[in-house]
Symmetry: D2
Subunit: 349 residues, 4 copies
């Protein structure tokens, strides 16, 4: 894993957290630095960030809490809302199933895994799980975990989310959306959702900052009044209540006061669209549709080998003996010349 880039000529498409943060955020940290503020999220910047988020979400009744990262958000939301015998349904690709080192199970809860091709859950998936859990010898499925955009770059449409939301309500399930890359999802060319719409359809979700221009930080939004009680206890118990909570408040205030959040996501998507469009023009297929800031072109292994010295990216999976899917991720900070360079280098192969 240790992959320190000492060669300045190498450009990374490995992830969307390679750079620091947008300049506005750094300036705001600087400007407010020596003010005395209350700790643990009771500073005025956290308050201002919550106020602006409520406006953007168009709902004054939601509860909003800031945490440091996505695994922390998932771990706290899921463990605090489920009783010991209750489980959470997730796609097999779901972050909580694969890439959180068993964080959810470590809090005592089973994940009911659903095989999917595109990383998205449907009411039919939910039905199958519910119907196969019939009595107290099994766990009781109580929550549905979805990611938007998904871990493989796809985004939910309004219709898909509405149907899922209705299915959850009908079955008494909590619908929870992991929005680590929600900015990119909402700025997708295929998107017809919005923060207010999403907020009405899910019980709880989080708006990811880390992967869209913040130094760190995710904003958990709780809609369902049944789920709001005592949430700060859960934050504290899981080590998520930062003493200098101001640094999360300041960042989210900056991200949302002038739509910076969406501008950053839009840039990331444009870079991905350009990459994906050009790779497509060269006749390559993709593992999943190019909809957000993560794209998964299927390339000959020989091409991958030639690109590797100049660009960093993950080889996602083997397709056949000669071809693999790679993951290219763009971000708010991706330089267009790097994208152009990548495309040109591909053409030159």
């Amino acid at each position: 894993m240790l992959n320190i880039q000492e060669n300045e000529k190498v450009y990374s498409f490995k992830n969307d957290y390679s750079e620091g943060t947008h300049n506005n955020i750094l300036e705001a940290l600087l400007k407010t630095n020596l003010e005395q503020q209350d700790g643990y999220g009771y500073d005025i910047y956290s308050k201002k960030a919550i106020d602006i988020l409520k406006k953007v979400i168009q709902d004054e009744e939601v509860d909003i809490h800031f945490v440091s990262g996505g695994t922390q958000a998932n771990m706290i939301v899921i463990s605090s809302l489920l009783k010991p015998h209750e489980s959470v349904i997730a796609a097999i690709q779901g972050h909580i199933n694969v890439h959180e080192a068993g964080a959810i199970e470590a809090t005592g809860h089973k994940i009911n895994i659903v095989e999917t091709k595109d990383g998205k859950l449907t009411p039919k998936d939910i039905k199958v799980v519910i119907e196969s859990h019939t009595d107290e010898h099994m766990v009781r499925p109580k929550m549905v975990f979805i990611s938007n955009s998904t871990e493989i770059g796809t985004v939910y449409t309004k219709k898909e989310l509405e149907e899922l939301s209705i299915s959850c309500k009908t079955n008494g399930l909590i619908l929870y959306m992991d929005g680590a890359r929600l900015g990119s999802a909402l700025c997708s060319k295929n998107n017809n959702l919005s923060l207010p719409k999403i907020s009405k359809m899910v019980d709880v979700f989080y708006i990811g900052g880390t992967k869209n221009g913040a130094l760190l930080g995710e904003a958990i939004v709780i809609n369902n009044p049944m789920l709001k009680q005592d949430f700060r206890f859960f934050l504290k118990q899981k080590g998520a209540l930062l003493a200098k909570g101001r640094i999360l408040g300041i960042q989210f205030y900056e991200l949302f006061k002038d739509e910076l959040y969406f501008k950053l996501a839009k840039h990331a998507n444009e870079m991905a669209d350009k990459l994906g469009g050009e790779i497509g023009k060269q006749g390559y297929q993709f593992l999943t549709p190019c909809e957000s800031n993560q794209i998964f072109p299927i390339l000959p292994n020989s091409v991958i080998e030639k690109l590797s010295p100049k660009y960093l990216f993950y080889i996602w999976c083997k397709i056949d003996d000669n071809n693999s899917a790679i993951r290219l991720v763009t971000s708010w900070a991706t330089k267009e010349e790097a994208v152009d360079g990548f495309i040109n280098d591909m053409k030159g192969l």
Copy 2:
């Protein structure tokens, strides 16, 4: 709890995390901001911070990991090193016993509580706990948790720590030091310990950044080779592996490259010493000796009431019907004129 300071004339001695961070750190964040770095602590700044810390500790063999806060550090260290039936011994004032919302028990472990006056544990305390745990109907005490400085401002001497260390080794106990305020402890006028000495005497400890000038961050140092294995799994599972781990590395590099950490702590202590000295001269007693950046003067309630409109501080405990102990905390950012003002205001009462 919501105590936002809108009145500029109010000065806070409530804690040591009211301000942001030292300017060096902000500048370093700015300077490195757009570099592409690997995530999750594999950036070069985390590497450089680890290198410098190893030099300061004078031990190349320690393992060092950065996390976001003290409760997170305690929760991860304790839960990852203990087996399910093992418990941790702590003073009744211990942070893990009182102020972590049950974080340790939430990971499955009992805290064996020891009554103390000064917040410090002794070999005799350990002996009593060990001797009263005789068989499998009880938990097995396996770790000793101490804080330096303690939650009530006292510091361990070299002799005290040595004796405790020997007692732990003799009894097969892991000795763990919570160093949320280790800077202040090491710069105490009563201190005769050092990072290298501490590191030789404890199995694991953490060096607190949040309460000594960082935006956030604590450096966990593992000495005992038996305790090093797979630690990054535990970090990830508890949501502590920041995607942009660079922000922790950058801060600790800045704090330790030129002894900034100790300069900041020294300032905090000087401010506390001045406060404590002057209050003592006015004839007041203290709940515990003034040794670090937290002091606990016992004041008449009438005096407390008169100070309250201008200064923020916690009323720690009731002493009798007319007197209470308050907690005054100073920090790297405490202004000397505020200290002078407080003293003058007391004199004027």
Copy 3:
């Protein structure tokens, strides 16, 4: 601990689970043995036992579940009724605090310990705990755990329990009674409670079988409708749902169909009363009042040493250099001639 009695001349007052079970129970097991019955508590004997218990408790609305032992009962009740941040208040002598190997903490919950002399909690104790838990940096006390009779042989009076019950209701606390020795408590000469009265005053309790004549088994009784949901899931998840649940049902049916339960407890108490009365006549003091089947005489160490070759009992605690309190436990099966022998042997010293 290994203390196998190979010497037939040694008689044990160590506990109330040294013998097997009452003959009625063995006969009922024999008689029903080859009937085919549904598993996991859905047999007709469990149903009949529940029916008769509801009559004895005089409440058709309670939910009743059978488990194998006291630690299992406590672990399941407490972990299933508390949310992650909620704690349980218990006397320092409480079984869950001392003798369950950290079972409660292992399910994630802190025990708020209260120092008591007689093992009983009062509204004042509750008040102190509640008032010292003020915010989300601490756990939230949500349940009160009491044992009747207590771990040191005392019993709650009607007045004491009423006051505690009101205190719990007022403070939104769940009141849970561990009835491992409830039979002995209810047959105490100082008792003025009954199963129906207790059931109206506590939210949940269990009626202990193991220590009052059953081979194994405790009956958990849930009064509070809010606490009934999904309880069988918790039983299953903690490994408490016996495939041949019939063996628990058969036993409780036998214990309660003709008041056998109370007859057995009465015998145990009579034996303890005789022991306690005679020891008292010899001028010895007791650690706690003799009220149930556990008594704690304070004897000179020389006397204890002389009794030890013929009688098994625990030395409970040191009183001073020359005297210790021992624990003598009687049971449904204690032979009066052994009691007489013990008394005579004491007289002869």
Copy 4:
């Protein structure tokens, strides 16, 4: 689920725990009933049972502990041997994956699920899981859970177990066998394993009593010396240490002192073989090979409906619109006339 058999004419093939216990066990309980014995497994019968089991296993070095049931055994073994970040690999049909209400996850551990047709794991399955878990963002697979016989009636051959054992050793994995139906497996017509052979190949396993003639009880056998430490703490902490542990010791002593255990299993298998043989002769297929006391004939739904009023059994799964697989389970107590009756009734349809 509530399915009480009030109609005497109905015969149950639902499971192998419908009846009580073998008469030898009842007689032994009766005979030893009034002896005073030490509690919590320190009685002489538990000691004798352990001695005889060590002889049968042909290994004096194993550690043996008795618990009440299979879920309890699995929960304790797995949670006590794994560290927080370690996971257990199991077949999708594995009891821990499906029918333990999330007991394993409730102790904090992920189950890595492997799709299988016959419920058995192979070295290839293990390899796939190991190779897909590459770093600290995922759990670390550390244990392999197998059942013999499996949950769908198949048994492991010596060759299969040897290969799996080698694979586990090579990969540093603990091999754990759930022997809820180990008696039936070892008496299968296809078996070429034995208790001594199994014991040499696995790190830990349990010998099921409940499903082979005991009232309750499973014997956990620990071979690997690394896994023996402090096991009684884990038993106590999970509520598994019965005060009257004698009842488990007495039963296992009776089951193994004259090979009763194998005689009972042999009878169960003979009844299943007869059922399976005759159903096969009638031209029906089976979901899995008939190897133990659980068989899974695929029958037309019309046939199933006609059998239902007279026989109890589970409908295991739908095969197509007209056919389903049912599960027929025989036991030590299954009456041959009931088997004959079932066969005749099928013929008469």
